[in-house]
Assembly symmetry: C2
Homo-oligomer: 199 residues x 2
DNA sequence: CCATAATGTGAATTTAAATTCACATTACAT
DNA sequence: ATGTAATGTGAATTTAAATTCACATTATGG
């Protein structure tokens, strides 16, 4: 028997597999992100994954690129768009927080040993992307400082790292089950406090 | 053959095994923290681990307690000691940063799925401990605020979360290989900036 | 139409890690 | 002294996951 699934081009299958992997990541975390789980979520056989990807590393690589494009790209577009620096920073903050609220698997993957200790290329790609992200936020903060919206004395880079740390730490506490308050409420409080700190 | 290793009491062996596990964690991360690696580092057979622990979860549990006692306890003792709130916060910051610099495996373990998705008891224990940690730092910040050393308007809890996020994010970037600057220099810059923000 | 390359599958195979087992040694209580 | 419970080991066994394989189906260019 070899006929349960419609045949589709590898382009389409790759896309489906990545989306399925993304699903699994959200539901079962990095640890549950197995070939079998991805195949099940995509509604196909294990072996078929290997028709369209070289192996698990290859799937992981594509997943990471997908996340980087779909997600990290959003901050860049907000930063490049119109609005005051503080409005931009606020939008970046809440969109990132919302993302984490919906899919804590993303930061888990980004900061997992699966990535760092796995394929070097993937780790490097992510490190570079994260570097861009930090720079993007630094630039927004520097602009706010220059326009007098934020404190003149703050150093953009370190403030950006603090900003991202705040988001990251929330994500991690959330996954740990140690975040008692509502995720959204927590985000609002953190933002209000951060805004007070920087201006 | 059953005679390569001196016999010792289980109390001593448990201690040795935990220290060995701690070593492995530092060198190979959570992923490399296998029974075989621990046994090798402790200079004993795999099977002997099972003489002194119920299984890997049991080892992990003891390791987490060890870390919580040895490490997280330090912040508490600094907080409880003498000095101004800002001096205390500074000491906590740099001791935590130094710790991470020497053993990035610690935050890796604390925030790993190995812990969160493994034995529920371990995850809960850690969540509770982390909660205490947040409270300890909140209290120092609140004291600083009250004494006029820090801004009156900042909310202690959210500022504490931001403080810890800054540390955590540094640790994660470091493990990713994306932290370009020297670890110590980075810590000093972050601290200088944070201090500017809160007062 | 039809050859064939691409797509798809269930059933091995491989690999790595946790765990158990059967047996060897030794501390130590009596 | 001695027997027995605790400690120690190498060699299975188990388990779970990635990967490969032999064979089935089907789209498609000619």
């Amino acid at each position: 028997m070899g006929s349960c699934l419609e045949k589709k081009s590898t382009d389409i299958r790759r896309e489906e597999i990545i989306r399925a992997a993304f699903e699994v990541l959200g539901e079962k975390g990095v640890r549950g992100l197995t070939i079998a789980a991805i195949a099940e979520s995509a509604g196909m056989s294990n072996a078929n994954i290997y028709r369209h990807f070289g192996g698990k590393d290859d799937v992981l690589s594509a997943l990471v690129q997908f996340i980087a494009e779909e997600i990290m790209g959003k901050a860049s577009s907000i930063a490049a768009g119109s609005g005051t620096p503080s409005a931009k920073l606020e939008r970046i903050f809440f969109s990132h927080m919302a993302l984490i609220g919906e899919n804590p698997g993303i930061p888990r993957l980004v900061f997992s040993e699966e990535i760092h200790l796995g394929d070097r290329k993937i780790a490097d790609f992510l490190a570079v992307r994260l570097g861009y992200y930090v720079e993007t936020i630094s630039a927004v903060i520097a602009a706010g400082s220059a326009e007098g919206e934020f404190l003149k004395e703050l150093s953009p880079r370190e403030t950006a790292l603090t900003f991202l740390g705040m988001i990251q730490f929330t994500a991690l506490r959330r996954v740990m089950g140690g975040a008692s308050a509502e995720h959204v409420t927590e985000a609002e409080r953190l933002w209000a406090n951060f805004l007070r700190l920087i201006r």
